[in-house]
């Protein structure tokens, strides 16, 4: 045996249209939609395909349904990225605060053509407030209904996360930096419903849409990865 550098081998190529090929194509798509990076997906698919090849069985018989396997693999991978978890939650909470601030500016009598000034401190505070609601939902759903919609990878990240949010909030408050959004009121009419729908969609799916390295949109679980 010769050792080669730690890198995934080229993707396996079972015959096009074969059940095995279809299975792994579906698995790749499922893993991509669960936010796994392309390189890691290639590595997993190569490994699993070799396993199925050696077992000489049907992929579903050996690995189970694509949905179940992708959920199990994504759950195992979620522990891999505490930083992503942290940033995902922070980005989501602050974005939510920004959307609420924009909705507020829109509702409180801005005329078409007006410029809208959004105080960054308010955005951060609203973000923290939203985070509180999300965490309450997390723990509440666990303790009250006995079933959790979301699960955190590890509770030990909760404290650094809250600290980070507190630091961000403190910084924005001291900087007194106002973010002037120079958009006309009429643009807000279009922007606010879209942003609101995006937030509702994210809350329902527990995912933030983020631009990926590939042409598809990757979805970053905002910490509470769907399992």
């Amino acid at each position: 045996m010769t050792e080669i550098p730690a890198q995934p081998p080229p993707p396996p190529m079972p015959p096009a249209g074969s059940p095995r090929r279809i299975y792994f194509e579906q698995l790749s798509t499922a893993l991509l939609s669960r936010g796994l990076p392309g390189g890691r997906i290639g590595e997993l698919v190569a490994e699993l395909d070799q396993h199925v090849g050696q077992a000489g069985t049907d992929p579903v018989a050996e690995l189970g349904p694509v949905g179940e396997l992708s959920a199990a693999l994504a759950a195992a991978e979620s522990d891999r990225s505490p930083l992503l978890w942290l940033l995902g939650n922070l980005a989501f909470a602050i974005s939510l605060g920004a959307v609420i601030a924009l909705v507020g500016a829109f509702l409180f009598g801005r005329q078409p053509g007006d410029e809208v000034t959004v105080h960054l401190g308010i955005v951060a505070y609203l973000g923290v407030l939203m985070l509180g609601i999300l965490l309450l939902r997390l723990y509440g759903s666990k303790s009250l209904m006995g079933k959790s919609t979301f699960e955190m990878p590890d509770k030990k990240y909760l404290l650094p996360y809250l600290l980070l949010v507190a630091i961000v909030t403190g910084l924005t408050r001291n900087l007194q930096w106002n973010m002037t959004v120079a958009v006309a009121g009429w643009l807000l009419v279009g922007l606010v419903p879209v942003a609101t729908l995006l937030v509702i969609w994210s809350l329902r799916r527990s995912r933030i849409p983020v631009p990926g390295r590939v042409r598809h949109l990757r979805r970053l679980g905002w910490g509470f990865w769907g399992r």
């Binding site: 045996m1 010769t2 050792e3 080669i4 550098p5 730690a6 890198q7 995934p8 081998p9 396996p12 590595e43 997993l44 190569a46 490994e47 699993l48 070799q50 396993h51 199925v52 050696q54 077992a55 050996e62 690995l63 189970g64 179940e68 396997l69 199990a72 693999l73 759950a75 195992a76 991978e77 522990d79 891999r80």
Partner: protein, 116 residues
């Protein structure tokens, strides 16, 4: 599948991670080989759908070290080996398991085993 296999399979579910670590105690192995090591000692062979998420988690936790190795004939394979933390985990699990098995044996009224 015999009744014995079925019972062992149910017990094994809670012990899979420990068994995977144990299977790698002697030498590195790739996924399929690890599953075979279960069979070699008379345990139910874990399905790939169960095994790989566990391997992924253990790798994540720093207990396993992956390494792609090119075979003389055939494709590269991902070999897993125990990291020092993984070895330490096996060393901790082994006496714990012995103690646990001994207590269960006691409850089941089995004769006490004498150490060799």
């Amino acid at each position: 599948m015999s009744d014995s296999d079925d019972v062992h399979g149910r017990w094994l579910r809670g012990l899979l991670e420990a068994c995977v670590l144990g299977a790698l105690r002697t030498s590195p192995a790739y996924g399929y080989e690890i599953a075979n090591r279960f069979e070699e000692v008379g345990l139910a062979r874990p399905k790939g759908g169960t095994l790989y998420p566990i391997l992924s988690r253990l790798e994540n936790e720093g207990l396993l070290e992956p390494n792609w190795v090119e075979g003389e004939s055939g494709p590269s394979r991902k070999y897993y080996s125990l990291t020092p933390t993984g070895t330490a985990a096996v060393d901790t699990i082994a006496p714990e398991w012995e103690l646990f098995a001994e207590r269960v044996s006691q409850l089941l009224g089995l004769p006490e085993r004498t150490s060799p």
